[in-house]
């Protein structure tokens, strides 16, 4: 039973869950709990909010499982729900508050990364540790405009194609492509600036 469930596709599992199989949902949740949480966490950057959004996303999946029409893949459908949940959150939450959170987080990250970088610079071998580079990258992601950040995260976390990302974000393929390109450029520039490298 367990083996057959793990072998099943996402679409078959959601169909089974709609038909009453609780194990199917468990298997599906096991597959996607980390990516969806990751996506929510990177968008809001606070664990409490990420928990809330993650729970909202999955409750919506539970409620609308019977409405899944298999017109797109389950993954696309799931990330679409996550995207809509985030959009609702942005709309509901006070813009100022959200901006404050972002600015605070960014400042903290900046401070930490700067400190880390300066510490790193003082090291005799002058080598950057992976951890510090990752922190710098995360700071750069935080500073990205929301649309670019979303496209970048979807590209990195979900493994969706550009076409599917365009479907999830309800934007055109071309704008999705250009958002991803701009996000990459900005992150490159960000890293270069903080590492003192000229591109």
């Amino acid at each position: 039973m367990t083996e057959s469930i793990t072998e099943k596709t996402d679409e078959q599992l959601i169909k089974d869950y709609a038909g009453g199989s609780h194990f199917a949902f468990e298997a599906l949740y096991k597959r996607y709990k980390n990516p969806t949480y990751h996506y929510c966490f990177r968008q809001v950057s606070t664990p409490a909010l990420a928990d809330e959004l993650h729970q909202d996303v999955w409750l919506k999946v539970i409620k609308s499982a019977a409405q899944f029409k298999q017109q797109s893949s389950f993954k696309t459908w799931l990330y679409k729900i996550a995207h809509n949940t985030l959009m609702d959150y942005y709309r509901k939450s006070e813009k100022r508050k959200h901006l404050m959170i972002i600015q605070t987080n960014t400042r903290e990250h900046h401070d930490n990364s700067g400190e880390a970088y300066s510490q790193e610079q003082q090291q005799p071998d002058n080598k950057l540790q992976n951890k510090q580079l990752q922190k710098l990258l995360l700071n750069g992601i935080e500073e990205l405009p929301r649309e670019q950040k979303e496209v970048f995260l979807l590209h990195e976390i979900s493994g969706l194609s550009l076409h599917d990302i365009a479907l999830v974000t309800q934007s055109s393929f071309e704008s999705t492509k250009s958002r991803l390109r701009y996000a990459g450029k900005k992150l490159h520039r960000h890293l270069a600036r903080h590492l003192g490298v000229e591109l």
């Binding site: 539970i62 995360l138 990195e156």
Partner: protein
Amino acid sequence: MSKHTKHPSGAALEKHLKDDTFISEVYQDIPCPEPSPHLNQAIITAAGKHNRTSLWWRQPSSWAATIVIFSLVGMLTYHTLEQEKDTASSMEPVYSPSPVTAVLSDNKSDNLSDKSSKQPVSQAKVEADTKPYVISVQEKTQHLSQPAPEPQAAEFRARSAFKAMHKNDTRQLNFARQPLASEESFAGETATEQTAPAFSPALSAEQLLKQIQLLIQSKDFKQAAVLLQQLQENYPQHPVDPIILKQLAPWQRTTKP
């Protein structure tokens, strides 16, 4: 996902920063945040709860829907059948075996038995012989069930029956199936059977002339001559087609008393 990959530094980093995959590689090495087990449990419990709830209401509702659909279909079928029955009963012609037709039938059979060589005729043979005439008479008289002057309709029916009888020697007619045969028509029928058809004097000259033409078409010159005689007697001023006069001249001579 390659965990904790050593990334280049210095000049090599500069080179790698120009590479598109570098950002992606760095990002993939970042440890993924994971939801807490408590959150996982809450979501899975919610899923199970929702499933049980939905299954609880889904089954009775599907039953209810099935029952409603079946009852609706049944009601519709019953209603349609009732309507069809009503329509059929309203469309069915009413055959009233009046005493006149009964007497006529008896008389007819007596006459026929007299005229024929007193041979018993089986019911099947009678029906087989008379079937085409019954159908033709029905067809001819069908339009008479529509609102029409009653004397004319009755006369036409009686006349049609007479013509059919006259054409065939067997003279087996289902008079019981003749609707609306009246006393007058019966009287006319019996009279014309022996001598010539007696028509109502209320007939106009045009009508008589039309009937004469019909009789000529059916080559019933004898009766046509009788009618022509009536026409000439009742309407002496009415012009008659010379062709008809010429056609019926020999018959008029024979029918004249």
